[in-house]
Amino acid sequence: MNGVLEETLTTIDDKRDDHRTRAGRWWYQFSKNPLSVVGLAIVIFVVCSAIFAPWIAPYPEHAGPYVNYGEANQSPSTNHLFGTDVFGRDILSRVFFAFRSALLMGIVVLAIVVPIGVTLGLIAGYFKNTWIDTVVMRITDIFLSVPPLILALAITSVLEPNLTNAMIAVSVMWWPWYTRLVYGMATSIRNEYFVQSAELLGASKFHILFREILPNCLSTILTKMTLDMGWVILIGASLSFVGLGEQPPKPSLGTMVSDGARYLPEYWWMAVFPGLAIMLIVLGFNLLGDGIGDLFSMEES
C-alpha cells in the first residue's frame, strides 16, 4: 500500500519536474491546443522548405527562366506531383521557391514596420495629451483611413513593379497598426506606479520607453507579428497577382495563381496548388499566432 502511494507520488513529482523549466512549461501550455501545434508544424514546414528549396525541390532549375515545351501542361503525376505549367516547369518546385519570396516579404516588411510603428506608438502614448501625441496619432489616422490594398497598389504602380517596391508599399500601409496597438497599451502602462517610480528616480526617457513600458507590450506585439506574417504574405500575393510583386521568371505564388487562372478549368492544377500554398501559409501563421496569444494570456494570468 505504502509502496504504491510512494510510487504515485514520485511519478507526480517527475511530471512536475518536466514542467519546471520555463520552456517545458510553455510547451505544455502550448500543446494543450492541437490547432496551435498544427500551426507550428505548418510554419516549420514552410520555413524549412523555403530554406532547403534547392535541395528538396525535384527540379530546382525550374525556378528560373527554364522552358521545356515537351513537358508543358502535364497534370499531376508521380514525376510532377503538382503538374507542370505552360512552359513545362514543375509547379511543386516553383512553389517551394515561391515560399522564399513570400517569407522574405513577410520578414522584411515586419522588420521595417515593427520598430517604426512600435517606437512611434510608445512615444505618442507616453506623451499623451501633448502636441507629440496629436501629431503622431493624426498622421497615423491619415494612413489608416486609406484602404490598405489601394494604397499599396498606388505606390507599386508609381514605382517600378518588383519585390522590393512591393515590400516598401506594404510597409507604408502597415506601420500605423503597430502604432495604434502600442499607443493604447503605452497610455495605460504609463500610469502604472512603476513608471512613475522610474520617473521620480530620474530615469531617462529612453529607459522609461524601452526598458519599462516596452517589455510589457512585447507579448502582444509578438502575437500580432505572428498573425501579421500571414496577412502580409497574403497582401504580397495579392500584389503579385495583379503583377506588382516579384517579376517573372522568378516564381511567386500570386503570379502563379493569376497565370494559372487563365487556363482554368482544364489545367486546374496551375492555379489551385499555388492557391492552396497561400492558404497553407496564412492558416499556419494564424493558428500559430492564436496559440502564442493564448500562451501569453495564460502566462500573465
Binding site: 506606479y193 517610480s197 522610474a198 521620480l200 530620474g202 530615469a203 529607459h207 519599462e212
Partner: protein, 316 residues
C-alpha cells in the same frame, strides 16, 4: 533638530469639466530628520495629493514646499537629480509599483545606476545589502515580482526607496493593500530603518490606530485642509477638533483600557462632501455635532491651543 521638509499654505486645485476641484486648500506642516509625520484623512481628503506635490508628480497651485531650505514646489522633471536622490516614495499598491518584466535585482539596480551610487563592481553587493536590510534572502535578486507575495513586493519597493540613501521618504498608504499580519512586519521594518538612518517619514494613511504606533506627530486632513495637528500622545489623549473626536470614537476597541481613553461617543453624520462643492464657512460644519452660528459663515483659522497642538475650530 534639522528641519527636512517645510510645507506652507499648500494649495492644489484641479480644473475639470465638472468645475474646479479644490483637492488641497491649506496644508502647513514640517518634518525633521528622524521624525514621522502621520497625515491622516478619509479618501478624498487630499492627503495623497499633498504627497504627490511633495514628490513633484503635481505642481502646487499655490504655497511653498521647502526641502532643506530650498524651494522644491515644481514638477519633478524640473527637479535636479540630487533632489530626486534625497526624496523617495513608496506607493500604495505594491503590485503596480514593480515592473512585472524586470527582476528584483534589475529593479534595485536602476536607482544605483542613475545616481551612480557605487562602481559597477560593487552594484551586486549593494543590491544584496538592500535586500538584507528589508529582511529578504539574497536569492530574491533573480526573482520576478509575479512570484513574490504582496508584503515581499512592498519590501522590495521599500528597498528601492532606500537605495539612493534618501533623507525623506513619502509613504503613501504602504500597508493598506496588505494583510494585517504583514502590515506589522512592514511597520517594524520601517521603524527599524528609520532609527538606523535617521530618516524623515511622511506617512499617508487612513488608519488612525496605526499612527499611534509609528507617528511622532499626527495631522488630520479634512476636505483639503489640515484641521488638527499635534504630538501623537496629545493627539490621542486630548483630541480637540470634533472631526478628530468622531474619528477616534469610531476606532473599534477590544479592551476596557482602550475604551477609557476614547473620547465620548460622537456618532458620525453624513459623508465627506465632494471637493467640487466645498461648504461655506468651516468645511466640517454640516457634519459637526457642536456647530455654532459662526461656523457656517466664516472659515476658522488654525490656532495653537497648546504648544505644538494646532486646531482649526471656533471652539478653541
Amino acid at each position: 533638530m534639522e528641519e527636512l521638509l517645510k510645507v506652507e499654505q499648500l494649495k492644489k486645485h484641479f480644473v475639470t469639466s465638472r468645475g474646479i476641484v479644490q483637492a488641497v486648500s491649506e496644508a502647513t506642516f514640517s518634518i525633521t530628520a528622524g521624525e514621522t509625520l502621520g497625515l491622516v484623512g478619509e479618501s478624498g481628503s487630499g492627503k495623497s495629493t499633498v504627497a504627490y506635490m511633495v514628490m513633484g508628480l503635481y505642481q502646487p497651485t499655490d504655497g511653498n514646499i521647502r526641502f532643506k531650505d530650498k524651494n522644491i514646489g515644481k514638477y519633478h522633471q524640473k527637479r535636479p537629480l540630487e533632489l530626486k536622490k534625497e526624496l523617495q516614495i513608496v506607493f500604495q499598491d505594491p503590485g503596480s509599483s514593480l515592473n512585472p518584466r524586470r527582476s528584483v535585482g534589475k529593479i534595485l539596480e536602476l536607482p544605483l545606476k542613475i545616481h551612480r551610487i557605487d562602481s559597477q563592481f560593487n552594484l551586486r553587493k549593494r543590491i544584496l545589502d538592500l535586500l538584507d536590510m528589508v529582511g529578504l534572502p539574497k536569492e530574491y535578486e533573480t526573482k520576478y515580482p509575479s512570484s513574490l507575495g504582496g508584503g515581499e513586493k512592498q519590501m522590495v519597493a521599500i528597498a528601492r526607496a532606500l537605495s539612493t540613501d534618501p533623507s525623506l521618504i513619502v509613504l503613501d498608504e504602504p500597508t493598506s493593500a496588505l494583510d494585517v499580519s504583514i502590515q506589522a512586519k512592514i511597520i517594524n521594518t520601517l521603524i527599524r530603518i528609520q532609527k538606523e538612518r535617521n530618516l524623515g517619514y511622511l506617512f499617508i494613511t487612513h488608519d488612525l490606530s496605526l499612527m499611534r504606533n509609528i507617528a511622532h506627530r499626527v495631522a488630520i486632513m479634512y476636505l483639503g485642509r489640515i484641521v488638527e495637528q499635534a504630538l501623537t500622545k496629545d493627539f490621542f489623549e486630548t483630541p480637540l477638533h470634533p472631526y478628530t473626536q468622531m474619528l477616534l470614537a469610531s476606532i473599534p476597541v477590544v479592551s476596557e483600557e482602550e475604551e477609557k481613553i476614547k473620547p465620548e461617543r460622537i456618532t458620525s453624520v453624513g459623508e465627506i462632501p465632494s471637493p467640487v462643492n466645498i461648504p461655506p464657512g468651516c468645511v466640517f460644519h454640516p457634519r459637526c455635532p457642536k456647530k455654532m452660528d459662526i461656523c457656517s459663515q466664516e472659515e476658522p483659522t488654525m490656532v495653537e491651543y497648546k504648544p505644538g497642538h494646532f486646531v482649526r475650530c471656533y471652539l478653541y
